[in-house]
Symmetry: C2
Subunit: 422 residues, 2 copies
């Protein structure tokens, strides 16, 4: 806030001593559309002259017609089908830390499964004292938790391992969303089923047509996993696992099994397709890292970005998101010169455990070229690495767990490009 | 949490030593629909046998078809038109503290106004050093704040002054919602316009067809008012003031002027229709309280409630919401016997300033009649009153600022009725 106050007081944002109307002139944006002069002050705008729609028009409200560009998007060439595919959250159009449910990215392996909640059952079997089956109503009788958590796909930024390939914030960072989940702690369900001492792993099984399955170690299950039925207050959306999904805080998204059908306890990992053939990280020497669950600290500048060019010279804000699977974000630094110099950004409360955190920092743009970067540090003191640091250890074969610092090149026209330094 | 642990350990929730399938039998709900047996374990459910919809099906996602009852609702007889009317948030169907944007209640005096953001302007005039006009892009250049705040209509629960009239949680408490707003502090805008010493009040003017106008004292403006353009991450919804509304934290909703057009600074209140004829509280002696801005501490049990009857005997949760315009919620008490005995509920973090706060408390139901109440205490130590305490001071003429304790009568069948005690 010190920076902000200094900037504002040092020089008026819109340095005009003139009266009404002067501002619109001095801040004419580089890309702005022309306004309809009939609607500008001191005229009465056209929308004031007619009654608007009544309260019954939209029992479930939708965004403005002028925001129709704010949607999830698919990269057409990325996957062979849309049923085993992914779309991306439009981070560049979002503020704060809540992702609206309708814009949460969607990754599935057999399409969105439609389940009648009356027919829904969750089975817990294997190395438990009592194998049990729960209805949705049963689950809702347990003590509830309400937690904001980010969910990130392990492949977020996966196309960037070998260079800056996709020129957009949405496509390079948009496999992440952040909502408040409501559900029951899996450890509370285990008080009912009991657990044998030999139980060391769980198999989480989805009821989608891909039969999505992942192994999770018992320590994580006992720590903070949630069997969730609501997101941002309302029932889970169909593409997010309605009526029930697993929440595995801070760990890669494919483990958060959707349309959750069964939890089987065993004494060793199940070595499913999704943790052996898929979602492993191939190293340079031909070996692959397996069970790379935690999503390490990461950040992205959402404005400006390739989709949000700079349209004004002068005072304005850099805004972005940071997150870590290891806990809270402790600090975010921003560089204008490709990492030579760093300034610390302001974090916007609430700064929550394993949740997206909004940061902003003010700056003045005089039309010069910039190399914009952000770097997240989490409460474990892990520092978001450069791609070079990551490649030294991990090579370039993987498409997973790329949490490296991105660079937005601001050109003299205000255009923003995703570039690779060094 | 002590209560919860004790209850769970004392007696298994579903007290069954039997194996798979036993649970569904013992917990057969009183009202549950019959499941399709072909979809129950160990059968493979029908939805697993077919590919689901692909990722391009819904660029902006919507709730499940099985949640179509979760919508905003209007009380048909309450107002003469739908353009000057209100609908209600379905609190009984929501969890956590975030209200999804599509379910935020909507109150307007001339219908929902549709504004092309290119034509949007905010004028600041009157007792300032420099009268100025801001575009939406201008506003977004300022330092941003991101804050969760509840917005409650002064008339929420207004029909209940003379008795329990409406038998529903949605209709008696649903004129409240809670989202994260993004915008610029009005005090930061004033650094640009300057402010004359004589400026003591502001007139906030909407550009809707009703020309909604309210006076706000300068102390509140300087304290925490926000000129906001986003809610829960995305642009404001049309019915919530797209593209810009005023946020007046903790104060009655009609002051949060939507489709905000103009802020005029003056040396006295403007005595508009909405603060003289309307939104004043008529007392028994014929005098009216005016400028009753703050929304006092209040709470509601959202489950069970008239729309959410109890469907199981045995262990389950009471869940509700509490809020206060004076700060954070400090404590919520719950009574099962109409206020004779109280137990303290668990508050779910984050517990934020002037935000909805979720509380829960476990209980066991044996089929007996209950008189369920909740009572909020805020950090100023204000205690939510009974209707009798409120009526002693305020009479029964008003339709505003009824923050009294509600009573849900649980009947022996599990049905829930809104009743008045005493």
């Amino acid at each position: 806030m010190t920076d902000k106050k200094k900037l504002i007081s040092r020089r008026s944002l819109f340095s005009t001593g003139a009266g009404l109307g002067a501002l619109a002139l001095t801040t004419k944006s580089l890309l702005a559309k022309e306004a309809n002069k009939k609607n500008l002050p001191p005229n009465v705008p056209e929308w004031t002259e007619a009654l608007g729609e009544g309260v019954d028009a939209n029992p479930y409200g939708m965004p403005s017609e002028f925001e129709s560009h704010v949607v999830r998007r698919n990269v057409e060439w990325l996957t062979a089908s849309t049923e085993s595919s992914v779309n991306f959250t439009p981070l560049q159009d979002l503020e704060g830390i809540v992702t609206p449910n309708g814009l949460c990215f969607e990754r599935h392996h057999g399409g969105t499964t439609i389940i009648n909640p009356t027919d829904y059952r969750l089975m817990i079997n294997g190395l438990v004292d009592r194998e049990m089956i729960f209805t949705l109503d049963d689950l809702k009788r347990f003590p509830q938790v309400n937690k904001f958590y980010f969910l990130e796909c392990a492949a977020n930024g996966g196309m960037e391992w070998r260079g800056a390939q996709l020129n957009g914030c949405q496509y390079t960072f948009g496999m992440v969303h952040n909502v408040q989940y409501t559900g029951v702690k899996l450890s509370d369900l285990l008080q009912e089923t009991g657990l044998k001492n030999s139980a060391k792993w769980i198999l989480a099984e989805g009821s989608d047509s891909s039969g999505m399955t992942r192994s999770i170690p018992i320590e994580k299950i006992k720590d903070d996993c949630i069997v969730a039925w609501a997101m941002n207050g309302e029932a889970l959306r169909p593409e997010q696992g309605y009526p029930v999904r697993l929440v595995v805080p801070g760990w890669e998204g494919n483990m958060w099994v959707k349309w959750l059908r069964r939890l089987e306890f065993g004494d060793k990992p199940y070595m499913t397709r999704e943790e052996t053939s898929k979602y492993t990280d191939l190293l340079s020497d031909g070996n692959a890292r397996m069970f790379t669950w935690v999503m390490d600290a990461k950040s992205v500048i959402t404005s400006p970005c390739p989709e949000k060019p700079i349209i004004h010279r002068g005072f304005q804000q850099i805004s972005g998101l940071a997150w870590s699977g290891r806990g809270k974000i402790k600090r975010v630094d921003v560089s204008l010169d490709g990492g030579k110099n760093w300034k610390t950004a302001q974090l916007h409360p609430p700064v929550l455990d394993k949740s997206l955190t909004r940061f902003t920092i003010p700056f003045e743009w005089g039309g010069e070229e910039l190399l914009l970067q952000s770097r997240a540090i989490d409460e474990s003191n892990y520092v978001q690495p450069t791609i070079q640091e990551l490649q030294k250890i991990r090579g370039v074969n993987s498409i997973y767990h790329n949490n490296s610092i991105a660079t937005w090149l601001i050109t003299k026209s205000g255009k923003v490009d995703n570039v690779r330094l060094g």
